[in-house]
């Protein structure tokens, strides 16, 4: 593991993917450890890990020493319930102490199921879907007014795209030519306990965003080379909203829960956590017996 300052000094350089993979593996461990004693949205967090690690470690001008700098880049996590992936990344990159993750769901801290500004590095709270695309627009507009060079990223879930406010935001971003704004879609193909295409079909998603005026890149959201190839093209087209559709797998890294509609929110037993940590490293196949949370 490299220290945070070195990681951020290496921004804009081609990084060794092994570094990113090592960080992502640690973040997945953090997520698994948070998936007990009350639990968290494990499946939705695991799908977002690699994009979040890539963005913070390599793409964004954002690190523990510039969190209030007006020239920093911004990341808004609109999807919200994947916040264990974000906090795990923050812990690995030094924005918060790793020990603090043990406070998950504690009344004495602020590490609960959705992001909030009590945690260093969180720009805005989320939880209600379809809000942060417009908040990100406001920040991007201000940067445009001031002629700044900051990049603004907003990560959204694919299920979140059911909300009409997301599409309002795409239209407004298009009207104001916000090419400093990047919407990243965690396309894990599930929303709560259903496949997106079985409920409110989203495909052809690429065409939808293109028709709304965005410049779209669709990639494998778990492949650091593809993430790098997509984001290095920023801005994708002058005067256009950037959209990255990152095809991902819910539960990525844990074969026993991968791409399962019923493993969205997980509250594993202590024994299951032990086995899943081994499974993450390819040393085990977990026999899960804990109850699943099914909301529909």
């Amino acid at each position: 593991m490299q220290p945070i300052n070195k990681l951020n000094n290496m921004q804009n350089n081609i990084r060794d993917n092994k570094d990113l993979e090592a960080i992502a593996l640690n973040v997945r461990e953090h997520i698994i450890k948070m998936s007990t004693d009350g639990g968290c949205f494990t499946g939705a967090s695991l799908s977002a890990v690699d994009m979040i690690v890539y963005l913070y470690a390599e793409f964004l001008n954002l690190h523990k020493d510039n969190l209030t700098d007006p020239e920093r880049d911004y990341l808004f996590l609109s999807k919200g319930h994947d916040v264990p992936a974000l906090y795990g990344t923050f812990a690995e990159l030094g924005l918060i102490e790793k020990e603090r993750l043990a406070n998950h769901l504690s009344i004495d801290d602020h590490i609960y199921w959705h992001p909030n500004i009590h945690i260093p590095g969180i720009e805005f709270h989320s939880g209600s879907l379809g809000h942060l695309p417009s908040v990100a627009i406001g920040v991007a507009m201000d940067i445009k007014i001031r002629g700044g060079a900051n990049k603004v990223v907003c990560i959204m879930g694919d299920g979140e795209l059911n909300e009409g406010s997301c599409w309002e935001a795409v239209m407004v971003a298009n009207a104001y030519k916000l090419d400093n704004l990047i919407f990243v879609i965690d396309r894990n193909k599930f929303q709560a306990n259903m496949a997106t295409e079985d409920l409110i079909p989203l495909e052809p998603l690429h065409n939808k965003f293109t028709a709304f005026g965005a410049a779209v890149s669709r990639i494998d959201g778990h492949d650091f080379n593809e993430l790098r190839r997509a984001f290095e093209k920023y801005p994708f087209a002058e005067g256009k909203l950037n959209v990255v559709i990152a095809d991902t797998i819910r539960g990525k890294g844990l074969p026993s829960i991968q791409a399962r509609a019923d493993r969205w929110f997980c509250n594993f037993s202590a024994g299951e956590v032990e086995q899943l940590l081994l499974e993450l490293h390819g040393e085990n196949t977990t026999q899960l017996t804990s109850e699943t949370l099914v909301v529909r």
């Binding site: 007006p70 417009s134 908040v135 406001g138 920040v139 445009k144 309002e168 009207a175």
Partner: protein, 312 residues
Amino acid sequence: MSYEELLTELSLADERFVVMTAENRALIRNLPQLLGKRFIDTGITEQTMIGAAAGLALRNRIPVVHALASFLSMRAFEFIRTDAGIPALPVKLSAFIPGLLSDANGPTHQAIEDVSIMRGIPNMTVFAPADEDDMVKMMPAIWSSPKPAYTRINTRKTSYVHEPFTPGKAEVIEQGTDVTILTYGLLFEQALIATTILKSEGLSVGLINMRSLKPVDEQAILNAVDQSELIVTLEDHFLTGGLYTIVAEVLLKHQKTARVLPFALNEKWFKPALLPAVVEHEGFSGKQVAETILGYQTNHIQPEILKPQFAE
């Protein structure tokens, strides 16, 4: 001075101001060319406008947003509550044609629960100027506050010249021992008429222009209760959640009782028509209010109620 002139002056002097609208420019026609990129029209997207206003406020801007009161307060309610209320950002909401001012538009456009729902948001402040003079005196303090604010825009002209505005303070127009009328917004004009009629009928009459509904001037209400036999609340709002409820809350908090006669819209939307007819139809004209209080008809003449200048 008009609302637009005031906003022009302040926003040209202070780069932090960003003027926004959800495709409703009636109040701010000249600002696009004057403010350039600091004028933002998001189209008919109240939700996106509020979210973007929160984002601008994160960057130390003071966004002054404009939309029709009903769509601003209700279509975008959750965005206001979640994106401006939770982080207590100084998003300034200018709600156009609130209450009876939506006159002939119909119930879709009637914001007559806005005071109720906006004051229920922690950190939010709520204001209702009596007329244009009052509004121009109130807005500088509202806009310079660090809090989110909802203002019932009222561009109507009356002959009354208001006192300077102190945030959280009501404007005591008159004090009386028989009855005190508490009101806000455009019905202030009718309350003035009612006061004149009641006085000529021999009553000692108080009148208070509430101005700020949250925070509310509790002392002004308590003083009126102590001084007057009867308290009248007059508002173009549902009976639930507005001034009548605020008075009830203040009395309960201070363990006081009072005789209170409310004029409000009780479990109903008002009948759409041009404003003068609406005011009469709902029984809110100065003469009707006075005669309801008196319990008898008089020969007083109700002055003409002017039509609004906008039709949205």
